[in-house]
Each structure stands twice: as C-alpha cells, then as structure tokens.
C-alpha cells in the first residue's frame, strides 16, 4: 500500500482569519506539500498551491481570504513531495479528503448589563449569553464559568447542550460584596467553530443595609440540628396623598414640602424611654413635622409656628411698623392637651438651614433639642 499523508480534521473557521492545515507523514523528508481545496457546492477547485518547506514541517498555511470564502463547505486533500534535482517528485498518494466549513465568525457574547458595565449590584447574577451566526449556524454547546479574583475556577454551569435549553443562561448565587470576579463562556457550533467570550471582570458593590440584620444560629446538640433565625426589622410606610409616589431628591432625601406625608405604621413600637431624631431642611412653618400616636390616637405632634415680634415704643405700645418674623417649635400632647413651646425664638434663617431635631421621651417627660447646620 502506498504511503499517504494524513491531513488532520479541523473545526470550522472564519476564512477571513486564514488557517493553518496540519498533517502527518511517516515517509521520507518532505521538500514541499500541495494543498487542494474543492468547493463542494459546485466541485470547483478554489485553491491548489505548493508550499516549499525544507525539513519536516507538516503544515500548509492558508492566508486570510486566500481561497475559501465563508459559509461554504469544502473538501481538502494534500500531497507531499521530495526534491529530485530541480524538480519536486510526488511521494505516495494524496491524503484522504477532509471536509470542513468556513463560517463567518458567530457573535457569542454576554448580554447582561452587569457584565457590560462590570458592576455587580446583587449577590446573584443570571448570566445571559447571546449567540448568532450570519448563515444560521446553530450553537451546539456552551459552558459558563465563574472565576475568583485569582482567576481560579469557582463555579461552572458544566457543558450545556444548546438544543436542550430554551435560553442560554446560568445563575451564579452567593457572590460576596466588594469582591472581584471573572465570567467566561466557551462554546462550539454544530460544525465545531470554537467560541470564547474571554474573561469579563465583575466587581461587586451591593447596595443594601446589612448592619444589624444578622443570621442567628444555634447548634442544637441533642437534636443534632442547627436552628436558623433572622432578626429582620421590616417596617411599612405609606405615603400621602394616596395614589401618588414620593419624590426623592439626590437619592437621599424625601421631599415632603408640598403637602406630602410619610407614615410608618408597622414593624416598630415606641415605648418606655426612647428618642426620635430628625434631619431635615426646607422646613415648612405651620405643618405638623412629626405626629407620634398609639393605636387610640393618643400621642403628640411637633410643629414650627411663626409669630411676629414687635418692639415697644417709648410709651409702652407695640411698634407695628417694625415687626420681625420669628419662629418657635410647639409640641402638643394629644392626650392631656399640653401645648409646650420652645423658649427659643428662631429667625427666618432657620428655614434655609438643615435642622437636627431631637424628641426624647424619658420617664414620661419630653425633651426637645435642636441643632442647626448650614446647608451645603
């Protein structure tokens, strides 16, 4: 039996990128090799070229777009030659033909906004893969992997066969806050085109309150069990007027200057000794700043009241031409009817400042304290 080179089988490739065919040969030293590529659709030879490489260099390199064009199937055969004087002499027979596809590179990428921005806001991410190919080449399989900041694999979807799923996705859960991760997907089309998204960096920065909310664990030794309890404090608030939404300013303040009110009604109880602290600005005179009541409606309100301060004339009358607007805080006990006024007269500059307000309830006595801060 005559010797023949063995042309290695290959995956589909994008003709725009070129390709290097490799082969095996167990005969004499090769001086040249010749690759012939036939387009299967019409049997036309689209490429036939000798490449002279001295030594056992078992490859034939096709330059980008040199012969094959995308989205066609081809057949390749290879011959090897020895040097005989100035001529090249065929050794053995041509290789068996190898079939291959040239395909326009498929689009294979992540479509999550988190991966596009690189910012992870939640401890769970469902990674969505987007795949398409110009001529409808199908995705055969894929695998989505998660790496830690050292690029060590920590979780993987395993190989998922695309035909068996309705969406190309996988969920990674339990990611840590303030950590760096990398996500990568590998895949292959039905004709073997290798796909790789590359490593995509994700930095986690979760936006949540964690302080004070703990997972309380207890080892129940006799029962060989672990008890798990939460201490979530969840409150419920309503906004008035009903049917409208509160307006937030700078993502850190709620605007209740235009008649709106927020009422916290569930998940807490103010009893015994306690204090309430408010930080607010653009304070509205004659509004109830605070109303604290029990289920029967007893409690107290706090408001800022305006008044005019007139100087006395020399004869002891008020000089109504020189009045100055002042303000005082008024706390009204709804049960016993006390109306308690602050002894401090505040000027109009109060309205442009940030107010820190303390209402303290201790031993059934109220205490009020106010600090003012220049607004920035």
């Amino acid at each position: 039996m005559a010797l023949k080179p063995i042309l290695h089988t290959m995956n589909a490739f994008d003709a725009r990128n070129g390709y290097t065919f490799t082969f095996g040969w167990s005969g004499d030293l090769i001086a040249a090799n010749e690759l012939t590529i036939v387009r299967l659709s019409d049997g036309k030879i689209v490429y036939q070229k000798q490449q002279t490489e001295y030594g056992m260099v078992l490859k034939h390199t096709l330059a980008p777009q040199e012969a094959a064009f995308n989205d066609q199937q081809y057949s390749a055969t290879l011959k090897v030659f020895r040097k005989n004087g100035s001529d090249y002499e065929l050794m053995g027979e041509a290789s068996d033909p190898v079939l291959f596809w040239c395909l326009t590179a498929p689009s294979f990428s992540f479509s999550n906004s988190e991966i596009l921005t690189g910012e992870l806001l939640f401890p769970t991410i469902t990674v969505d893969l987007k795949y398409s190919q110009a001529k409808g080449e199908l995705l055969s399989e894929y695998q989505i992997m998660l790496y830690n900041q050292n690029q060590t694999l920590i979780d993987s979807s395993g190989v998922v066969y695309a035909a068996s799923v309705s969406a190309y996705q996988y969920t990674f859960a339990g990611l840590d806050d303030k950590a760096t991760y990398y996500v990568r997907a590998l895949g292959a089309t039905v004709n073997g085109y290798a796909l790789d998204t590359g490593m995509k960096q994700l930095k986690s920065q979760f936006d949540y309150k964690g302080v004070g909310s703990t997972c309380i664990l207890e080892n129940l030794y006799p029962e060989a069990s672990i008890r798990i309890q939460s201490n979530y404090v969840v409150t419920t608030a309503t906004y008035e007027p009903a049917g409208s939404a509160p307006v937030f300013v700078d993502h850190t303040k709620v605007d209740l200057t235009k008649g709106g009110a927020v009422t916290f009604i569930d998940g807490f109880e103010l009893k015994g000794d306690y204090e309430i602290k408010l930080a607010l600005e653009s304070i509205q005179p004659n509004h109830e700043l605070l109303r604290c009541t029990d289920t029967a409606g007893n409690g107290y309100t706090l408001a800022l009241r305006p008044f005019f301060l007139f100087p006395h004339t020399p004869d002891g009358r008020f000089d109504l031409t020189k009045g100055e607007k002042k303000f005082y805080f008024l706390l009204r006990d709804l049960k016993n009817g006390y109306e308690i006024t602050d002894g401090i007269r505040y000027g109009s500059d109060l309205l442009s400042k940030k107010i820190h307000l303390l209402v303290q309830h201790k031993n059934s006595h109220y205490k009020l304290k106010i600090e003012m801060e220049e607004t920035t």
């Binding site: 339990g174 302080v211 060989a224 927020v262 309430i276 006990d333």
Partner: protein
C-alpha cells in the same frame, strides 16, 4: 457647622411632663425635606444622628429612594420569599434548604427554621436571602460549627438517636463483572453501571436519655427501642449522621432486629442500610421526600 443649640424648656424645666402609657405605633412626618429619621431606645441627648443600625435601634429611615426604616431595604411590598441556604465553610456553592413564602405577611419575614441535615464536626455558613422583585437580595450570613454525639437517623416523620454502645461497619460498593476472553492473558473488568455507593450495618442501643439528670430511664428504653423498630420500618428514606462527620442518605434494610443483652431493658438494635442518594443534592432530597423545597429554587 453647628450654629445654634437650644434646649426645650417650660417654666424653667428642660423637660416637661407628657402622657404616660402611650405606645407609639404610628409615626408621621411631613412639612420638610427629610434625609433621616432615627429612633432608638438608647438615649444620647444629641440631636444629630451618627449611628447606624444598632441593637437598640427602633427605626432608621435614610430615604435612599425608598421609605424603609428597618434594618433591611426590603418590605412585604416587594419581597415574595425568603430562602435559607447552607454551605460548608470554605466552599462556594450554596445549597438552598428552606423557602419561606412571605405572602404579604410581615410575620413571615421572621425566619425560624431548623436544619436537621447538617453533618457533625463541620463548620457551616448559613445565609438568609430575601427574594426582592424576583431577585436575590443581600446574603445575611452566619457561621456555626455543627456538633452532636452518637448517631442520628432522621426522616420527615421523626428521628432517633443513640450514643450508647454503637458499632458500625461500612462498605463501598462499585459493582463490576470480570470476564475472560480467548485472546487475552488477563481478565477484563467491566463496569456496567455508574453504581458507586455505600452500604453498612449498625448495631446499637437506642435509649431515651434524660439530659438533665444524665440517667437512662430503663423500662422506657425498651418501649423506645420498639418505637425505633417502627421508625426503621416506616418505608421512608432517612438521613444517617454519625458523630465522626459521616452522613448518608439511606434506606433501611428489610429486617432490623432486637437482641437481648446482659441488661433486660437495654436490647441491642441491629439493621442494615444502603445509600440511595446524595445529602448535598436538592434533587435527591426532594425526590426522596426529605425536603419540600421546590425545584424552582435549585434548577438552573
């Protein structure tokens, strides 16, 4: 910059009497641009709040685009479920073990569950995870070492425990077929299945102990052994846990037995078991009736 400080005063007092016995259940604010509401049972006397959530905190609203004033930024309006997950410390993958539907009731956010399938001598991390608007919220994580003594057999209907005179033997099973061929000097070993599981036998005395008195109420132990026989033969898949850290999902063999010992009220119970699943597999736990956690929480 603090520009003015004043103290509330009335007729010379810096505090004034108020109503007694009022329990504030409703707090309403209006008439300003609010950036913080804070309430605490710890009295500081300062008007400016610099504390975050502490043990004595009652309310803390930051108004960061929401009206939540608890220690979490979710509420019953946007939270559908709370998941409890577990993993061995040092590993990455979480195993969901409980799902608590919130159903619009704030009380359902008070998680209080018991995990009976944790192995011994193992450090575990547990996470309580709210499902907010269909996405997992923050992982609220705690760490604990699981410890117990003796052996425990657990199924959804009950459990039994023995820390007394236990003997066990465990076998790893990897079935294969040995076959000879004419052309080979050596035999072939064929593995015709993926079978790869443990079986074992246990001999022990099940006793009901009184932990406070450290005594064994002897006549009752015989009754208890009979109860255990019923438990062993109830046809339910069980979790077998040993104090050395071994844990298996098992079926009990056909014929558990009781045999007399030198003590008339302390018989020995002996039974065989066969591993039927993976204790760390949600699918196995669900399929064998050991967990009712629906597939929606563990199928990717």
């Amino acid at each position: 910059m603090i520009t003015g400080i004043s103290y509330f005063s009335f007729r010379g007092m810096d505090t004034i009497p108020g109503s007694t016995g009022i329990s504030g259940k409703s707090l309403r604010i209006s008439g300003g641009l609010y950036d913080c509401l804070y309430s605490s049972s710890s009295l500081t006397d300062t008007a400016k709040n610099e504390a975050d959530w502490e043990e004595t905190t009652i309310l803390h609203a930051k108004f960061n685009d929401d009206l939540y004033a608890g220690n979490v930024n979710f509420g019953i309006d946007n939270t559908t479920n709370v998941l409890v997950k577990r993993r061995e410390k040092g590993t990455f993958k979480w195993l969901p073990i409980f799902d608590i539907p919130v159903l619009g009731d704030i009380k359902n956010l008070d998680v209080d569950v018991v995990d009976r399938y944790a192995r011994c001598n193992t450090d575990y991390e547990y996470a309580i995870v709210p499902i907010i608007n269909g996405k997992e919220g923050s992982y609220n994580i705690g760490v604990i070492r699981s410890e117990f003594d003796g052996l425990h057999l657990i199924d959804p209907t009950g459990a039994c425990h023995s820390a007394f005179r236990s003997e066990w033997q465990i076998t790893k099973n990897r079935p294969s077929v040995k076959t000879a061929s004419l052309g080979s000097k050596y035999q072939y070993v064929l593995y015709n299945s993926k079978n790869n599981f443990y079986t074992g036998t246990i001999t022990t005395t099940f006793v009901k102990t009184n932990p406070e008195l450290c005594t064994i109420p002897e006549p009752e132990t015989l009754d208890y052994s009979m109860e255990v026989m019923e438990f062993l033969t109830n046809g339910r898949t069980k979790i077998l846990k040993l104090e050395n850290g071994q844990i298996y999902m098992v079926e009990i063999g056909d014929n558990p037995s009781l045999s007399a010992t030198e003590h008339p009220f302390l018989p020995e119970t002996a039974f065989d078991w066969m591993q039927v699943g993976d204790c760390e597999s949600n699918e196995d736990l669900y399929n064998f009736g050991l967990s009712d956690l629906g597939y929606e929480w563990w199928v990717s």
